[in-house]
Amino acid sequence: MRYLPLTDTDRADMLERVGASSIDDLFVDVPAVAQLDGPIRDLPMHASEMAVERHMKGLANKNVAAGDAPFFLGAGAYRHHIPASVDTVIQRGEFLTAYTPYQPEIAQGTLQMLFEFQTQVARLYGCAVANASLYDGSTACWEAVAMAGRVTKRKRAVLSGALHPHYAQVVKTMAQFTGDTIADAQPAIQTEPDLDGLVSRIDEDTACVVVQYPDILGRISDLSKVADAAHAKGALLVAVNTEPVALGAIKSPGELGADIVVGEGQAIGVGLQFGGPYLGLFAVRDPKHVRQMPGRLCGETTDAEGRRGFVLTLSTREQHIRREKATSNICTNSGLCALAFSVHMTLLGEKGLRELAAENHRLACLAADRLEKVPGVKLLNNAFFNEFTLMLDGKPARDIVRDLADRGVLGGVSLGRLYPGVDALEHALLVTVTELTTEEDIETLATELEGVLA
């Protein structure tokens, strides 16, 4: 078998050294009830690379790749062009097949990369310190709520109604067990987010307010209002961002007063991948909060010869040292996705990110203008970055998405799918446009949408 180097001769020699007469002798401690008489049944036997490749390609061909159809999906997962050199770098065996850098002398590659990544994320978010990544935006969101609880010693979190419903679900799921109370709400279907309503829910027991920026309907609101209100009540503002490219065009959450900024980094370097692996970003504006942060941190130091080097640091926060007192149970994080993000961000740089953001916004404005003209379509947003909400007449949006797909167009995300049971959103379609969207794609969507709505 192509992945197993031991030959039968090797096995015999080794058993002899071990003093066992057969391999079964090494499994004597397994109780009889659990001893099997041979390979597990109902599973295929080993297969050649050729055969496996045929099988997997067969499955892949059953999917419609985003590149093969006009594509307008977003809602927390964004499709951007990833330069070819990103994949070259992450396929380097020294990065791909390394473990968490526990032996820093032979892990400086990963460590320096993480230090650079942390700096990029902190700057993007307008924060002082970012960690070395978490699983994804939604778990980062919960970690932020939990951290706010540790910092404020309070157990109540207020969620904006326009926080990604999956993120809200994750927070609420965890809270069931930790005993935190989560005050969430339905999103107000209006051109501007209902910040006053949100602020009014903050009280003296509130550990944090969680606001998405831009929000799930694509709207952009001035976080500083919420920050002031929260701070006035001794609560922290947790800002959530699912589209990092947006921050090339709009002010950073940190700049607007967010205390903890978390988000999904997938849009840069990682790709769609049907939802995972993604990249949880986590940063704090005030360095004094560092010791309450979850996850790994890479720090600068020097070696025995005085040369600069990097190590994982402040691990007394972590499970492998602190065990049940750790700030989080996370161990394996999203290292390689962080590398992909960092490489792509390095290629973009300040100039590229700003231009990429501008191009996304330009095309999104173009699309909004065009789609608004389709009979039966209303544009909800005044403001948006690269995605916006359309209110559709007639059929529920989920059916329209399905019909568009039948016509070969991946037309958007039905908000009804994300907010089951919220009638007001049954007819809302979230449409996303990136630099990969062509004007031709926009025209196609407009035409097919018209056809479907007719």
Binding site: L26, A60, S138, R362, R417
Partner: protein, 522 residues
């Protein structure tokens, strides 16, 4: 990239105190193929980019609610040539499985097959959106279903939750299901029992889920003390978390007995499956009374560790816990089509799900890799995997026990890991010194100081993808470094000598943390 050396390396230094840099010092700080590399922020520029995009039309109208960015982000860019070189040079300061033997105990650093990488990159898998209309992603849903089926069959368990993002996330999934099950029957319990030998994520997870954590005593032979455990069981104990094979490298003989006792007492049995590689295809945890167990696809099923992740930690469930599994999950619908069960169709489900753990459906990119790996090995190959992994570990244990303290050498054969301690090291040398000595020999050290139950623990996990020649050379090197440690050879205190960096000052790093680059004050 090679801008003037900023790393603090001192060119004037003719000889470092230990003499290894004798031979002319270099002005660059480089040593032929061992290249110094400045930080990105020291070589990049705000106006440089490696991505060609249209220039910004400042006059174009925007709809950004007046929140247009006014300050620079503070990023720097590199062109493609500089980028590729920056990361290539950095990568060369890393050790990986592709370079050599990486016996990091408990981490199962096996070879990462390249077919996995190729399959995961097929546009049909890599370029599909998690919220795409389900009729356009039937192949992806089938991948999840096929993988789920493999996992259930290999473990002999009826259910599986695919969304957990890594082992610790899987532990959380299992513990939450247990908690939900108790709550569902109005049976509030506060305690989870965890052995001291357990991985840190176990107690951390239990605490994260709101439980008190209590220790399970161990026997001198390195296994759970069944009698003591039984004695502790009671109406307050929600679950036990036991790693099997355990972190001392031993199979928990009495697991079944323990499981029965726990069930007897109304609790559930969580099994940490990180060590599944020792038994995959040979032993089904379902036959041992497990209620929930996570599987690290990035260990047993060969998906790459990537310098810290991503991983994937699906959790298999017993009948008792299945109803509480998280959303979303995939199910065969009418007409053989696959459906994704989400909140939207929650009512359509058994409805007892404890909720959602992550935004989407889990680590699809790891699923395609793991399924590719499983299909390649098949049921027969996976059995061979376990057998070779265990054989390699026993071979190492028996080849070193004569000179290295092996606390549980008499507790029977080890499973896929060999555990040693630092007893009898001379001259104040420690496990750490030995580990650093192995670095100079061209190896990544084993896991050190874990599990906590053995002094100066060294946990060696060879995996099945090492050749006998590779292991024999490792044994030779390990013996020679061990002899130096026993003899108290002080030169070990300075090791490593040949790595890109000598020992790094971790205390200084923690005392005054520098966690992001900042412009040097002029």
């Amino acid at each position: 990239m090679n801008a003037p050396n900023k790393s603090g390396w001192k060119p004037q230094m003719e000889t470092s105190e230990d003499g290894i840099h004798t031979g002319p010092a270099t002005t660059t700080g480089n040593h032929a193929l061992m290249l110094e590399e400045p930080l990105l922020f020291e070589i990049g520029h705000a106006e440089v980019t490696g991505v060609d995009l249209p220039d910004i039309d400042e006059s174009a109208p925007t709809r950004l609610a007046g929140l247009e960015r006014s300050e620079p982000v503070g990023l720097v860019g590199l062109t493609e040539p500089e980028t590729v070189r920056h990361y290539t040079r950095l990568s060369r300061q890393n050790y990986g499985i592709d370079l050599g033997f990486f016996p990091l105990g408990s981490c199962t650093m096996k070879h990462n097959p390249r077919l996995n990488e190729k399959m995961a990159r097929l546009p049909g898998f890599a370029d599909i959106h998690p919220l795409a209309p389900q009729q356009t992603v039937q192949g992806a849903l089938k991948v999840i279903d096929e993988l789920a089926n493999w996992l259930k069959t290999l473990t002999g368990m009826p259910g599986v939750a695919m969304s957990p993002k890594a082992g610790a996330h899987g532990e959380l999934c299992g513990i939450l299901a247990i908690r939900a099950a108790h709550t569902a029957r109005g049976d509030a319990r506060e305690v989870v029992l965890v052995p001291e030998s357990a991985h840190g994520t176990n107690p951390a997870t239990a605490a994260f889920a709101g439980y008190e954590v209590e220790d399970i005593p161990a026997t001198p032979e390195g296994r759970v003390d069944v009698e003591a455990l039984k004695a502790r069981l009671g109406p307050d104990v929600a679950a036990v978390m036991i790693t099997n094979p355990n972190t001392c490298g031993l199979f928990e003989k009495d697991f079944r007995t323990i499981a029965d006792a726990v069930h007897e007492a109304g609790g559930y049995v969580y099994c940490d499956g990180a060590n599944f590689n020792a038994i995959v295809g040979r032993v089904r945890p379902g036959d041992l009374g497990v209620d929930a167990m996570h599987i690290n696809l990035h260990k047993t099923f060969s998906t790459p560790h990537g310098g810290g992740g991503p991983g994937s930690g699906p959790v298999v469930f017993s009948e008792a816990l299945m109803p509480f599994a998280p959303l979303p999950f995939v199910r065969k619908g009418e007409g053989g089509n696959f459906e994704l069960v989400e909140e939207e169709s929650r009512e359509a489900t058994r409805g007892q799900t404890f909720g959602r753990m992550t935004a989407f459906h889990g680590q699809m990119g790891m699923f395609t890799r793991a399924l590719t790996y499983m299909l390649s090995h098949g049921a027969d190959g996976l059995k061979q995997v376990a057998e070779d992994a265990v054989l390699n570990a026993n071979y190492i244990l028996r080849s070193l026990e004569d000179i290295l303290h092996a606390p549980f050498a008499d507790s029977g054969p080890c499973m896929h890991e060999a555990l040693f301690g630092d007893k009898d090291f001379g001259g104040g040398l420690s496990t750490l010194d030995l580990a650093k000595g192995l670095i100079d020999e061209g190896y990544h050290p084993m896991t050190v100081y874990f599990p906590l139950v053995v002094h100066g623990a060294m946990l060696v996990e060879p995996t099945e993808t090492e050749s006998k020649a590779s292991i024999d050379q490792f044994i030779t090197a390990f013996r020679s470094v061990t002899e130096r440690a026993l003899a108290g050879d002080q030169s070990l205190k300075q090791a490593p000598y040949y790595a890109p960096r000598r020992r790094l000052d971790e205390t200084a790093a923690a005392r005054k943390p520098k966690l992001a680059w900042s412009e040097p004050e002029k």
